[in-house]
Symmetry: C2
Subunit: 401 residues, 2 copies
Amino acid sequence: MIAKSMESYVKGSSAIRAMFEEGGRLAKIYGKENVYDFSLGNPNVEPPEEIRQSIIDILQSEEPTFVHGYMNNAGYEDVRNAIAQHLNKQHGTQYTERNILMTAGAAGGLNVILKTLIDPEDEVIVFAPYFGEYRSYAANYGAELVVIPPNLPTFQPDLKKLAESITAKTKALIINSPNNPTGVIYSEETIKKIAEILTEKEKEFAADIYVISDEPYRELVYDGAVVPYIPQYYKNTVIGYSYSKSLSLPGERIGYLVMPDELSDFDDIVSGATTANRILGFVNAPSIMQRAVARCINSSVNIDVYNKNREALYNGLIEMGYECAKPEGAFYLFVKSPIEDEAEFCDMAKEHRVLIVPGSSFACPGYVRMAYCVSYDTITGALPQMQEVMNEIKSSRNEKQ
Amino acid sequence: MIAKSMESYVKGSSAIRAMFEEGGRLAKIYGKENVYDFSLGNPNVEPPEEIRQSIIDILQSEEPTFVHGYMNNAGYEDVRNAIAQHLNKQHGTQYTERNILMTAGAAGGLNVILKTLIDPEDEVIVFAPYFGEYRSYAANYGAELVVIPPNLPTFQPDLKKLAESITAKTKALIINSPNNPTGVIYSEETIKKIAEILTEKEKEFAADIYVISDEPYRELVYDGAVVPYIPQYYKNTVIGYSYSKSLSLPGERIGYLVMPDELSDFDDIVSGATTANRILGFVNAPSIMQRAVARCINSSVNIDVYNKNREALYNGLIEMGYECAKPEGAFYLFVKSPIEDEAEFCDMAKEHRVLIVPGSSFACPGYVRMAYCVSYDTITGALPQMQEVMNEIKSSRNEKQ
């Protein structure tokens, strides 16, 4: 008998993953090139060549028992220091290795900081639409997830509802900007107001409320858009970063937490997070990838590829009559379903070999997510199919009239 | 404010890690070569050369978005299949990739299977002495850890007490053989009797009791000793394996779970564990290391180095009058403290620049652990120091008489 807490997972399984496997099945029938899979955020842009070269250099020049061995659970000091210096240049901060903890991607980092902060029955707030895994991460530590409904059509968070939702039990607010699934960047004005609200509520309840900023898409922004650096607006901010997207290394599980000195109970949080990294079973972030990313601190993937996809897919869909907020970052388009039931819309698209994810997976029914980290051929192949889907919907509407 | 559950960790911190840092401090004062650090199980033997060559080959011949990308949360199918075939050859089993789940080392694997199986207030049994992290792992899922006291001086588990300790709440028994901290291998007779007891108790309580076999030291055995393969004796066995020691890759966090077909609720356990790998934040085991270990399936580190250390340290200490069960596996010596308070003994050793860990960290006071995964010079340098410690203890005894 498995644990009761796991039964619903086993029954339900993740909609995104199910779609991923459906893609494999359809590809076997129709050929891979005739299935247009927008279901998974698995980067199709190659990691920068420096990654390959760095790993080879490390293997050829550094001592193997050091490269593959245990280090401090927080990560190699020189690696953490290199990241601290890099952030200092970008944001004018004064971090040292003390402020950085290497993690198994942002998913690992988020679990580490939640384990560090959360007591059972604490409340963790998220803005819908949100990455569905947050619900599981909060549940891992017994937290209650409090969902602020989506603010349509801009997807900038609903701040009035935020203020109303904070209680004495609120321990953290998860922010994810650039956002999965919308691609929207929360504006500086939004961040300032969030900071004001939280500061006021911290006083009202005489308690700390931490922002956990999940930033795997920080570097994936278009048209010169700026992502506000939240610690500059709100002191109780912990950042979870990942190289999964910025260096196309999602399988390697490498990222870090930033814990600024200004955090309330900074020492305890650093010590707690380092311990949490160990006792959750991560022990430490994978060692050779720690050393590799430190050598590639100024590298990035070619986001022009994503931008080209974004323009083609967004413009194509808008011309057909689909509605969508134009994403400023990440590699997702969050499209309004032309029919009420977006799961039915996803099924129609699947009939046309286009795989997309229902917005219900992100607590935002009536919308669908298209991950455009795919080949350009997938975009150009999918657009005529999406046109056909729209045609079918329109003719069905006409029949009803 | 950090979580209440983390406060004791932050206060207490791990004794092993504290010792590790003490080692660094003493090394700065006396020089690294004059500090004899037996505190940490960090392999000093180099990974086999094939590891280096495999990683370079992979980087030069496989597609980067595949090598560093997401795969099924359970791991690459070809990697899992290669491991299944390898185990089939060794143990005459009939595993396929379905039976293997790639994990972030054994620590990751143990957390995954505990998350899958454990409901709050379930009981998990361990035999003392045991790896102290088991207490944290069980606590992560709200389980009660039930400790069977050590069976001195052989350290074969106390089976009468095992039978008495099993209740309707018992969900799992963790077995770790070759054992950390004793180096003892549980005999075939022991395993057979454990299987009998568990089978009887499963009937008595009409419930499944799972053995979780933590096997990072399976390959590190001496004098031709044989480690019984537990699934051959007891069907409800899940194995947690790690390449940390067998390939000297502890920092890389790579290992796997074996979930045999014979498990009660096999499908649910596989599905649950795959989901647990994702939602705990591991997502998947580090991708390039998955591909590397599959290419090095028949490789192993040179354990002659450990064996030479074992003989020299064991024989040296026995000659001085220390008492110790001769380890058949792993790279630990579990030495009886010549004075009642083993923490005081550790302090005396530290005065002589020998760093060892008190048995209390393994629920076995009165003993100390020496990890002999160190250079031979560390052994030969430490022995005269341990002689002096023994001399001091003896002369102090004489003074008292």
